[in-house]
Amino acid sequence: METINASFIHLDLVGVLLLLIFGFVGGLVSGFIGSGGAFVLTPAMMSIGVPGIVAVASNICHKFPKALVGALKRAKYGQVDFKLGAVLGVSAEAGMLYGAHLQESIKTAFGHAGSNLYVSAAFVFVLAIVGGFVLLDAWKIHRTGDYHAEEKLTRLARWVQALNIPGTMIYFPSIKTRISFLVTIPIGFATGMLAATIAVGGFIGVPAMMYVLGVPALMASASELAIAFIMGVGGTIKYGWGGFVDIRLAMIILAGSLFGIQLGAIGTTYVKPYMVKVVMGVIMIVVLVSRAIVIPVYLSDLKLIGEIAPETVRHLQNLSFGIMSLALLAGAGIILRALIMGMHTHHKELAVAAATTALAARRKPLRLSPVGHFDHILTATDGSEFSAGALRVATRFAKRNQAELTTMSMVMIDLEIEGMAAEVIKQAEGEARQVLAAAQAVARAEGYDTRIELRQGLNAHKEIVRLADDQHADLIVMGRRGRRGVALMMVGESTRKVIGYADCSVLVVPRAAGIWERRILLATDGSRHGEMAAEAAGQVAKIFGLPITLISVLRPKFDDQRRAEAQLEVDRVRDALSREGIEVDSNMLEGADPAAAIVEFARQRGADLIVMGSHGRTGIGRLLLGSVSEQVIGLATCPVLMVKA
């Protein structure tokens, strides 16, 4: 391809499409094998004519924002040792700057041919070692069938951890011991140097952390993301300063790789562990061969060997490109096949389970109006102190009404960046199952049982609403976030969205609140939603044998007609509840701040449940609860039942 200037290639449609495909497959492979896709992407870019230094620079640039996102996400699982990341990152930064300087010097002295030879030779050398080890490892796992070999501390790591050089020791939380920074400096420097040379520093960083320092595998790969970010910023500035970052290439590859990386990460959960290593090792070796084939061309350009005929040069370049494409297509084929077949089988199993649940739901008698019925209660827990109150109240409510109780927890899955998907998911699932087991123990301690459900997804609120829909739940019981400072008025993002999106009623329970035992406060605004709330409040009052205090808050700006209408509505609701045999008293309050008035009145009357109607909003309005409802939920010390019309 012709060049626009010394470094950047001209991009036509074919070039863009090829880069997109390379990006997608590179992402697929890197998500699948849990390693940076740059070991595929850099050679792929070079094989369509991008100079080595530009390929490396552009890859480093497209990677570091992803590394930041990945590091922050993995930090949520407590897998990132930021101190180790920072200490290694500083020396890696030095290695990166030195490596980039070396690249630029080679390019200046020997031109693009020299730079291409340097990058290609580094690839052949590194991929031969790493690819060989990976295949050996795959063979061992396959032979012994030991998929879950426990990580053992290597002899080297034990020696490093025992080493004590006064004045150089630093404590690292991931290893729970002190290590001399004289050991970490060479590791960081080599990682940075390799990243500047082939855009993949993790080939040194991750194994060195595991085998030399004794960092657990999950933490090593997560902390590497922090290092990659630090190195990426330095590398991008260094290469960008020299004018070697082709942002178009980086962004087209990013477009493809972001789609691929998540599919690849999901794919790992459907295949046997040795398969992941086989794919990784085979791709590495094929990429190595593809790079090795063109080395004579660069040697000839540099006049280090005899001149090669132009025809032969073209053949070698085409062969290199063909082998590279074949490797990527084969890798993508294996991963996609594993994913499709695995998902097909898995979905069949899930469909059988869902059909059983649906059949059970159909066998129950049909209710024409679900409002005010609480036959199936769903509660969501994340194991935090905030959901403890919700779990307690949901269990007691279900027990009192002999309702079906389901407790759900979820695993947040968003693997757009990092690999080791299977391990990350396994760990997160393990923690979620522990939370559910603890929830079941709480329910049993109350003398009731709960079905448990584990869901995975991107957003908690979506999964909660989906499960409520699937199970025809009548009520979702959720916790409420903190009550200090700014959080005082915050309902909690997930709770707010569940109220907005759910088709059934939602009960919001503050951390310290218990089941209601004294009085129900029903706040009505004279709308249809208020009538639904009255019906639900009446049902709860009958189940628990409690009186209801009915209130309507008049704002000072209301005219006489509006006040008369409000009074009429309150009288109607009071009469309807009285006819049901419920003890009820009605009150008209005056106040510019209805939420504060409702909560204060509930406190004065000793009410320990507030019931309100919720506007079934659509579109953007779903995300905005009525401001009064949200404030009541935020201010109340007792549970608040939001009844959906």
């Binding site: 626009i4 200037n5 010394a6 470094s7 950047f8 991009l11 640039c61 497209h62 570091f64 924002p65 992803k66 996102v69 910023v233 991008t236 500035i237 290469y239 960008g240 300063w241 020299g242 004018g243 970052v245 082709d246 942002i247 178009r248 980086a250 962004m251 990013l254 477009a255 972001l258 789609f259 998540q262 599919l263 990460a265 999901i266 959960t269 459907y270 695995g342 998902m343 898995h346 695993v411 899955i413 968003d414 693997l415 757009e416 960046i417 998907a421 998911i425 699932e429 584990l454 995975q456 997804g457 991107l458 957003n459 979506k462 609403v465 989906r466 829909d469 699937d470 999106y501 953007i620």
Partner: protein, 74 residues
């Protein structure tokens, strides 16, 4: 299965934003290439573009697979 249209909002927002960012990148392709190949302080441009597109496109792809219902085995 709940109505998938409910989840389309964030998907389309990030998808639209990503499309606009890519359109701008290639609409001003020659200017950007010219500027960034000069080196020096122009390195800030690729860094800013990388952050903006990573954020927008990353969110879009996550929502996309979630919307299609492709999830890890559990």
């Amino acid at each position: 299965m709940p109505d998938k249209r409910k989840d389309l909002g964030p998907l389309l927002t990030f998808g639209g934003l990503t499309a606009v960012l890519y359109f701008l990148l290639f609409y001003f392709e020659s200017e950007i290439v010219e500027l960034t190949s000069q080196g020096g302080w122009t390195f800030l441009l690729p860094v800013a573009v990388a952050f903006a597109i990573s954020y927008s496109h990353g969110n879009f792809t996550s929502q996309f697979w979630d919307w299609l219902g492709i999830k890890a085995k559990h």
